[in-house]
C-alpha cells in the first residue's frame, strides 16, 4: 500500500521554472513520478522540457490535469502564499521543500491548510518517497528499495544514511517521509505514525529525531498508547550545546528543554528501540524485528 504517495500521485510543481524546481522536477520524472503540471505565474501556456504544461495558477493546473499533489520550490518570501494557493485549489497533499520560511508566516499557513483539510509535509524537508512507486521530493531515488520499513525524519542526509543502513541489513522502505527541520511544520511524527499504523505494507517504523521541541516526546506518548508495530529511533544532537541553533531552524535546546536525553528517555519508556550511535540504526532495526517475532 505505502502512504501519502504512490502510482496514482499526480504532481503539480510550483516553481517548476526555477533552478531547483526544474532540476528536481526532472529527477522526479526520471524516477517515474507522474509530474503532470508546473506552475509559474506569468509563464502559463509554456511547456517545461517540451512536455509538461505550465500554468499561471494552481487552480488551472488542477482543473486541466487532475493533479492531486503539489510539490513546492518557491523562495521563502513567497512560499507561504504558494502553500495557501495549493490548499485552496483542490490538491489533497502539499510537499514544501523551501528552507527559510519565517515561523510567524508558517503559523498562519498551518492554520490555513488545517482549515482546508489538506495535508502539508514540510517545509524545509526532503519530501516523500514510496520506493518503486513515486518520488515527490529531492532525495536521491536510487538509494531506496521497495520494502516494509516506514521512515519518518526531521532531517535530509541523515535520512539517506538511515535508508542506506536499512538496505544494508536487507530491508526496503514502504514510504520515507521527511517532515522537516523547522519549528512549525505541517505534519509531525504522530500525524505520520497514524498513517503507518493503518498501512499494511509497513511492518516497522524508523524515527529520526533531533534536539529541539517536544515532537519526539509526543510521538513516544502516541506509541505507548496505540502503536503496536516495532519502532526504532535515533535522536541527533546528543552532543549539541544548549542555546545554539544546529543548522536546522528547529534544532535548538531552549531553557534546558528539547535535549536528546529527554527524548531518548521518553522513547525508551514507550518501548521504542533507540540506537545510541548513528552507525547502529540498521542493526537496531534487525534487533527490533527479531524480538517482535
Amino acid at each position: 500500500m505505502s502512504i501519502l504517495v504512490d502510482k496514482n500521485t499526480k504532481v503539480v510543481v510550483q516553481g517548476i521554472t526555477g533552478q531547483e524546481g526544474s532540476f528536481h522536477a526532472r529527477k522526479c520524472l526520471e524516477y517515474g513520478t507522474q509530474i503532470v503540471a508546473g506552475v509559474t505565474p506569468g509563464k502559463g501556456g509554456q511547456k517545461f522540457d517540451e512536455k509538461i504544461p505550465i500554468f499561471d495558477t494552481v487552480e488551472e493546473a488542477v482543473k486541466e490535469t487532475e493533479a492531486n499533489t503539489s510539490l513546492i520550490f518557491v523562495p521563502p518570501a513567497f512560499a507561504v502564499d504558494a502553500i495557501m494557493e495549493a490548499a485552496d485549489s483542490g490538491v489533497n497533499l502539499i510537499v514544501c521543500i523551501t528552507e527559510g520560511i519565517p515561523p510567524l508566516d508558517m503559523i498562519k499557513a498551518k492554520k490555513y491548510v488545517d482549515l482546508k483539510g489538506v495535508r502539508l509535509i514540510g517545509p524545509n524537508c526532503p519530501g516523500v518517497i514510496s520506493p518503486g512507486k513515486s518520488k515527490v521530493g529531492i532525495m536521491p531515488g536510487d538509494i531506496h528499495k521497495e520494502g516494509t520499513i516506514g521512515v519518518i525524519s526531521r532531517s535530509g542526509t541523515l535520512t539517506y544514511e538511515t535508508v542506506a543502513q536499512i538496505c544494508e541489513v536487507g530491508y526496503g522502505q514502504s514510504t520515507c517521509v521527511g517532515i522537516g527541520g523547522d519549528p512549525i511544520i505541517g505534519s509531525n511524527f504522530v500525524d505520520i505514525l497514524k498513517l503507518f499504523k493503518e498501512d499494511s505494507q509497513t511492518e516497522a517504523v524508523v524515527i529520526i529525531g533531533e534536539i529541539g521541541g517536544t515532537a519526539e516526546e509526543e510521538a513516544a506518548e502516541f506509541i505507548k498508547k496505540e502503536f503496536t508495530k516495532p519502532v526504532v529511533a535515533f535522536i541527533a544532537g546528543q552532543t549539541a550545546p544548549p542555546g545554539k541553533r544546529m543548522g536546522h531552524a528547529g534544532a535548538i535546546i531552549t531553557g534546558g528543554k528539547g535535549t536528546a536525553k529527554e527524548k531518548i528517555e521518553a522513547l525508551e519508556s514507550a518501548g521504542v528501540y533507540v540506537a545510541k550511535s548513528p552507525a547502529e540504526i540498521g542493526l537496531t532495526l534487525l534487533k527490533a524485528l527479531k524480538k517482535e517475532e
Binding site: 538509494i143 539517506y160 517536544t214 544532537g237 546528543q238 549539541a240
Partner: protein, 389 residues
C-alpha cells in the same frame, strides 16, 4: 539573532512599552553626562552582554551617587564577565547601560514565544518575577498563566483582561497593562521575533508598569525583511570563526573538542558529532557544508575548521546522492590543493558511487584516510586526534 538589553528597550519604547529612563555608554567619559541627564540620585549600572545571569555574576550594580557610578562602570567596562550562560571563558563587557533606579512594589514575569507543539504564539505571565522562570514552571506550574494567540484574529481584549486580573493588577491599572501588552505583541509580530521576555516586569510604588529587564531574540528566517534589525547585530558578541563561516553561507558552530567535522546536512552533522563522542573523542565543531559540497564550499570549510587550533584531526562525512560521491571526492581533492591541510583527515563517503570515490582518494597520493563505515571513520579520526596531541 540576539540583541542587547539596551537595544531591546529602545524597541520597546518605539512600541509604547514603558521602560526605566536610561542610556547606554561605550566609554567612561560618557558616565557623568548620562548620570546628570538622569537627574542624579540612585541609578543602576548594567553590563551589556549577550548572556543571561548577569545579576548573580556581579554585572548589575545599584549605586547612590556619581562617584559610585563611575567606580561601578570602571569595574565592568572592558572587563570579563563570567555568568552561568557565558561558559568559563566569559564575555568582555563593551557597553554599559545606566538607568534610573525604580521603587519596586512587586516583580512579575512576562514572556512571548512560539509554542511549537501548538503551532501558535503564546504569552506566558507569572506573579513570580525576578527568578528563573524554568524553575517556577517546574515547581509551581499553577503560577504560570498562558494565553494562546489565534493568528487570524490576534491578541484579544479578553485575553489581556484575563492575564491582568490573574497577575493581580488593580482595575485602574488594566488600561496601562493593556497598552503595555498590545505594544509588545505588535513588536513581536512586526519585527519577526522568536522570543520576547521581561523578567522582571515591575509595578512601582508610584503605580507604573515597567520593563525592568528586556530580552528579544529575532528569528533568523525573518531577517530578510528587516534590514533595520540586522543593523543591531553586534559581531563582538559572536564567535569570530562563526562570523567568518556565515560570510561563506556555511553553518558552523565552534565546540570544545579536537576532532573537526565537515558534513553535508544539519542532521547528519549532528549525528557525526555524536558518533565522535561515542568513539571516545570530542567534536571540535558543527559544520554543514551544504548539499552538493562543491569545491569552494569544501575549501572554505577546511579553512574555518583548521582556524581552530585545537583541531588535531578532521572527519569528513558526506552523503552523496543527487551529487554523486565521485564528484564530491573530486571536489575534496581539488579543495585540498587550495588549502594547506596540516592535520590528518579521514574521509567517509556514503551513497551513490561510494566505492569509486574511495578508490579515487586512495590513489590520489594525498595523505587522506578513507573509511567505509561511519563507526570505523569516527574511531579512526578519534585515534588520529589522540596521536596528534
Amino acid at each position: 539573532m540576539k540583541v542587547h538589553e539596551y537595544q531591546a528597550k529602545e524597541l520597546f519604547s518605539q512600541y509604547g512599552v514603558k521602560v526605566p529612563k536610561g542610556n547606554v555608554i561605550f566609554s567612561i567619559d560618557e558616565v557623568e553626562k548620562v548620570y546628570n541627564e538622569l537627574g542624579g540620585g540612585k541609578v543602576v549600572v548594567k553590563a551589556q552582554i549577550h548572556a543571561g545571569g548577569r545579576g548573580k555574576a556581579g554585572g548589575v550594580k545599584l549605586v547612590n551617587n556619581l562617584e559610585e557610578c563611575i567606580e561601578a562602570v570602571k569595574s565592568l567596562l572592558g572587563k570579563k564577565l563570567v555568568t552561568y550562560q557565558t561558559g568559563p571563558e566569559g564575555k568582555i563587557v563593551r557597553k554599559v547601560l545606566i538607568e534610573k533606579a525604580s521603587n519596586i512594589k512587586r516583580e512579575l514575569y512576562l514572556g512571548m514565544v512560539i509554542d511549537r507543539s501548538k503551532n501558535s504564539l503564546v504569552i506566558m505571565a507569572s506573579t513570580e518575577g525576578g527568578v528563573e522562570i524554568e524553575k517556577v514552571a517546574e515547581e509551581t506550574p499553577e503560577k504560570i498563566f498562558k494565553e494562546y494567540i489565534e493568528p487570524c484574529v490576534g491578541l484579544m481584549g479578553f485575553q489581556i483582561r484575563r492575564l491582568g486580573y490573574k497577575l493581580g493588577f488593580e482595575k485602574d491599572k488594566l488600561k496601562d497593562f493593556s497598552k503595555f501588552l498590545n505594544g509588545l505583541y505588535k513588536l513581536f509580530i512586526e519585527k519577526d521575533c522568536s522570543l520576547v521576555e521581561i523578567n522582571p516586569l515591575i509595578e512601582t510604588v508610584e503605580g507604573e508598569i515597567l520593563a525592568l529587564d528586556a530580552k528579544i531574540n529575532f528569528d533568523d528566517n525573518g531577517l530578510f525583511r528587516h534590514p533595520e534589525i540586522l543593523e543591531l547585530r553586534d559581531i563582538d558578541e559572536e564567535e569570530p570563526a562563526e562570523v567568518e563561516a556565515s560570510k561563506y553561507k556555511l553553518s558552523y558552530i565552534k565546540l570544545n573538542g579536537n576532532v573537526g567535522c565537515m558534513v553535508n546536512g544539519a542532521g547528519l552533522a549532528m549525528a557525526t558529532m555524536d558518533i565522535i563522542k561515542y568513539a571516545g573523542g570530542e567534536p571540535a565543531n558543527f559544520l554543514d557544508v551544504g548539499g552538493g559540497a562543491n569545491v569552494e564550499a569544501v575549501a572554505n570549510a577546511f579553512r574555518i575548521i583548521l582556524s581552530d587550533k585545537n583541531v588535531k584531526a578532521v572527519l569528513v562525512n558526506i552523503f552523496g546522492g543527487i551529487v554523486r560521491c565521485d564528484r564530491i571526492a573530486q571536489g575534496i581533492l581539488e579543495a585540498s590543493k587550495i588549502v594547506d591541510i596540516n592535520v590528518p583527515v579521514v574521509i567517509r563517503l556514503q551513497g551513490t558511487n561510494a566505492d569509486i570515490a574511495r578508490k579515487m582518494i586512495d590513489e590520489s597520493g594525498l595523505k587522506f584516510y578513507t573509511a567505509k563505515g561511519l563507526k570505523e571513520a569516527a574511531e579512526k579520526a578519534v585515534e588520529l586526534a589522540k596521536g596528534g596531541e
